[in-house]
């Protein structure tokens, strides 16, 4: 009886010891199941973004398009947003145009029948007083950076795709662009047929009006605080255009066939203001 009691006690003690050993084991690291970024500031989700911006062409051939505008964007989630952008611009001749103009005659030169005069050349270059896009934006990357070990800021990269629109303008006076039937014969006096003049320099440039095309862009938000961000973007507005307004396909006439699908690359800098200004956080 005594032996049995001792045995039971010993077993009990051993059992208690086992339980204690189990409870004293090191816990597993439960952070492995946890979210990677806790208390993350949802800097864009369900927020409306208004961004006054400045935009300029990159490496334009004939005229730099420089202007200001507004970007409006609603962020459906942290990754997906929809928006629109509109920019009013002015045009500045590139250095290439300046150099060409230096070498052109002031007036049509009979010795150089194919060479345009300064006015013939410059008046057919077009401008882009208004352009913009409606787009869907994807923000697959977000993160934070330390600049000079002092400034710690959040940022995200985004990619945009959508429809581009542009209003093109060229002012070629009728006294210069006087050919009403470029590349075509026309009836002359006495029932004669006047053949095409084969002079593209007096043809209307046909590079104005409204254009629709494709829009692509990518950029970065660098958040200065919870509701202000620096917005740096490269945008490509692609649509039919003939920036020089001259004969492109060498058929000695300016026609619609001289327009081609061109990419108009812009770099933009803006200041994004997020509404509401108070930012939410994850748990």
């Amino acid at each position: 009886m005594i032996k049995q009691s001792i045995t039971l006690l010993a077993l009990g003690a051993a059992l208690v010891g086992t339980v204690e050993t189990a409870s004293a084991e090191r816990r597993t690291n439960e952070l492995a199941k946890d979210v990677a970024v806790r208390h993350r500031r949802l800097l864009v989700k369900n927020r409306f973004e208004v961004a006054p911006l400045f935009e300029s062409t990159i490496n334009a051939d004939f005229r730099h398009i420089i202007g200001g505008g507004l970007k409006l964007e609603y962020h459906l989630s942290d990754m997906l947003s929809i928006g629109a952008i509109g920019v009013g611009s002015t045009a500045i001749d590139t250095k290439l145009v300046s150099r060409i103009m230096e070498r052109l005659p002031d007036a049509p030169d009979p010795m150089e029948p194919r060479a345009p005069s300064k006015d013939e050349y410059s008046s057919r270059l077009n401008e882009m007083p208004l352009h913009g896009a409606a787009y869907v934006s994807l923000t697959p990357w977000y993160g934070k950076l330390a600049a000079f070990s002092q400034a710690y800021v959040a940022f995200d990269f985004y990619f945009q795709a959508g429809l581009a629109f542009a209003t093109l303008k060229s002012d070629c006076p009728t006294m210069i662009c006087s050919d009403t039937t470029p590349g075509e014969s026309k009836p002359g006096p006495g029932g004669e047929t006047i053949p095409p003049d084969n002079d593209p320099n007096n043809d209307p440039p046909l590079n104005d009006g409204q254009r629709l095309g494709l829009f692509l862009g990518f950029g970065i938000h660098v958040f200065l605080n919870d509701f202000l961000a620096l917005d740096l973007t490269i945008r490509d507005y692609a649509f039919d255009d003939n920036p020089s307004g001259a004969d492109y396909n060498a058929n000695l006439a300016v026609t619609d066939d001289d327009s081609r699908f061109l990419h108009h690359l812009f770099v933009g800098v803006g200041l994004s203001i997020m509404f509401p200004t108070k930012v939410k956080r994850t748990n």
């Binding site: 952070l31 979210v35 060409i100």
Partner: protein, 320 residues
């Protein structure tokens, strides 16, 4: 004697029982006094416990478990843990869990060290700001990082040219032949500084570390005129080419990064004179070169490439 022996056995049993029972409260007792009340106007400081909790269900969520003495640094284990921690989980409700010594990083260390390592950077590039001629480059740079943010390097590039649309349009539409130079090669001694360092998550899944590097250097290159009339000889010019630039470096592995950047190579170039007459003015390349017009050029290049790092691995010299 017999009763005495029995008493001895009973005594032994009681002592054993006493020891077992005494051990329970000792193990279950808190190892320290209860937490002090939080000071007014502030949150309670979390306690730091130097040993493990007694029972799992009695864990104080405010406690910081110091655990046992950390084992010696194990790089592979660290890297494995770092890779695991790179997995981003979608944000949602977070279960409050006790912290442990292993979980707390006062300063998260960089996953990539560059100090005293050599970067081999084969790259390709293209012109960004010339609307007449586009150059493609094939080149490379070898850089040695003196520290994690400072490096010195040597680069070399070979240029291949192609004409852009205006090169054809201008003669056809304006009846003027463009004066264009092409570049043959360039080399430079560069100094790099890395002031910006960050990380980002891709699609909420993968964390990528990146940095921004600024570069300034001095070098030389060679340009060659493209004669408007191919019957004339071209001439070359040796260029002194300082450069400045910035590039982003994305860390893919301990020995591999992707670099994307922009560099502005600045120089004064000589261009073919306007007038060249066969058998007369500026007929020879030397004469044309001596009468060449000069212009300051910014040749802005977009560059991209993979960097290979030597040694291929590194070791941390500080704690996590």
């Amino acid at each position: 004697m017999k009763p005495l022996r029995m008493r001895g056995i009973y005594r032994s049993v009681y002592i054993l029982l006493g020891l077992v029972l005494a051990a329970q409260p000792a193990l279950a007792q808190p190892k320290k006094p209860p937490p002090k009340e939080a000071p007014k106007g502030g949150e309670a400081e979390p306690e730091i416990e130097m040993s493990g909790d007694d029972k799992k269900d009695k864990v104080d969520p405010e406690e910081i478990d110091m655990g046992a003495e950390p084992p010696p640094a194990d790089l592979s284990a660290d890297l494995s843990a770092a890779e695991q921690s790179d997995q981003v989980v979608k944000a949602g409700p977070v279960a409050r869990t006790p912290l442990s010594w292993k979980d707390i990083l006062v300063v998260v260390r960089k996953p990539f060290l560059k100090a005293k390592r050599t970067e081999l950077y084969p790259m390709v590039g293209t012109t960004m700001n010339d609307n007449m001629i586009r150059h493609y480059t094939l080149g490379g740079e070898i850089s040695y990082f003196l520290t994690d943010v400072l490096a010195i390097g040597v680069e070399g590039q070979y240029y291949v040219d192609s004409f852009r649309e205006p090169f054809d349009l201008v003669p056809r539409q304006a009846r003027r032949l463009p004066t264009v130079n092409k570049y043959n090669w360039s080399g430079a001694l560069n100094f790099h500084y890395v002031p910006v360092y960050g990380k980002f998550a891709i699609l909420d899944r993968k964390l990528i570390t990146w940095e921004v590097q600024f570069t300034a250097g001095i070098g030389a290159g060679q340009s060659e005129v493209i004669p408007r009339d191919t019957t004339f000889d071209a001439f070359t010019t040796l260029l002194i080419m300082p450069n400045i630039g910035a590039n982003m470096r994305f860390f893919l592995a301990k020995w591999l990064t992707v670099n994307v950047g922009v560099r502005d190579y600045m120089f004064i170039d000589k261009f073919e004179p306007t007038m060249r007459v066969e058998g007369g003015m500026n007929d020879s390349a030397d004469e044309a070169k001596s009468n060449a017009s000069t212009s300051f050029i910014n040749n802005v290049m977009f560059q991209i490439g993979l960097s290979f790092w030597l040694p291929t691995s590194f070791e941390y010299t500080t704690f996590r």
